[in-house]
Symmetry: C2
Subunit: 219 residues, 2 copies
């Protein structure tokens, strides 16, 4: 069976999400770096894999997929019987709760995190500046979102229940950047249950292997 | 069996998404209107159903769910054997492609559409004004996204393949507002395959019953 190919870059949060899932499911893969400096992700060959020109894209035999959150669901289903169990939940109701918190990540957690990482890391890397007002308003938005997480995580160890699921995994790349790279670690550490959750999930061996490579390039 | 309860409002795009899915699956439900003018969605009783204070929230016996995109997946799985078939795909690979285009809706299509609806309809309803520069930039973003859809829909009748799936359904509320309420119908009508897709899906009886009630309140 041909090895799964992931086209992307280790510091891309969406690539890291897919690689973390592959590690959790103990699936061998080949990471094919995309030469972003040369703009290869906007050229026809890469656009045939991901028409939005973003990272990552996955090739599994004849199947090509983009959108990291769709890819991790595919991997969790296809490799249900190996590696970390129960990433999707084991009943229709459990699956619904996993999906619910995955959607919370997409629509509530991701937008302010993306804004913080863009402003604080990516803009300066591209020679631009950080808009402090945008940083402030997104830190406030994220703080209100994390209040909801704190309440949830006071009632269950992980987001979907008392087991680690895709809902937790989906959050990890931006949590990593919040804590380590954008100077917003207190958003996590100031919340008892959110902090315990992060300490737990970031110590997973499958994640540690990915996190060590999440370094933004220099200018 | 207790009837499913949907707490929300007919003009809320996320409520409409859930109601359309219930109709497609021929599931009886009760719509419980939320008194938004009185701020009931920010009060403890509603926050216990949806901690973000947004529409909708679903009650199905003991299960409470929020996030419309998670709810429609739950309904499509639970009622797999009735109503519109195959909303989720029938193989792991088909499911992955449905998920992929659902994620495209969430991360590429929804943000500029939401900005357009906010600027053109919601801001004036709240006594504010429309920022034309924001309208312009989001119409451009959406146009580039719809170019990807045009290419995709030139190769398959629906987003995930040659059958109607959740990926198509997930788009319907904002497509409806784009065409009917924000003066951006040409974004759809100027693209042959996108237009044919929209004409097809908006003529579905399950959708027509919902669309007729999608009227924004007056000031």
């Amino acid at each position: 069976m041909a090895k799964i190919k992931v086209h992307g870059l280790p510091f891309s949060s969406c690539t890291a999400r897919v690689l973390a899932c592959l590690n959790e499911k103990q699936v061998e893969y080949e990471l094919i770096p995309v030469n972003a400096r040369a703009g290869d992700h906007k050229k026809p060959q890469y656009l045939s894999l991901n028409p939005f020109g973003l990272f990552p894209a996955l090739e599994d035999g004849c199947l090509t997929l983009f959108e990291s959150r769709a890819i991790i669901k595919y991997l969790a289903k296809k490799y249900e019987g190996q590696g970390c169990p129960n990433l999707l939940g084991s009943t229709v109701e459990e699956e619904a709760v996993v999906e619910q918190w995955c959607e919370v990540e997409s629509h509530h957690f991701n937008p302010p995190c993306y804004a913080l990482v863009s402003q604080i890391i990516i803009n300066p890397l591209k020679g631009g500046t950080t808009d402090e007002a945008v940083v402030e308003s997104n830190a406030e938005k994220l703080s209100r979102v994390l209040d909801v997480y704190e309440d949830r995580l006071s009632k269950s160890k992980y987001l979907a229940g008392d087991w680690f699921s895709l809902a937790d995994l989906q959050h990890m790349p931006f949590l990593h950047y919040l804590v380590n790279d954008v100077g917003k670690a207190t958003l996590i550490s100031s919340r008892k249950h959110v902090n315990a959750w992060w300490e737990d999930i970031c110590s997973r061996p499958a994640w540690k292997k990915i996190a060590v490579h999440m370094k933004f390039p220099s200018k």
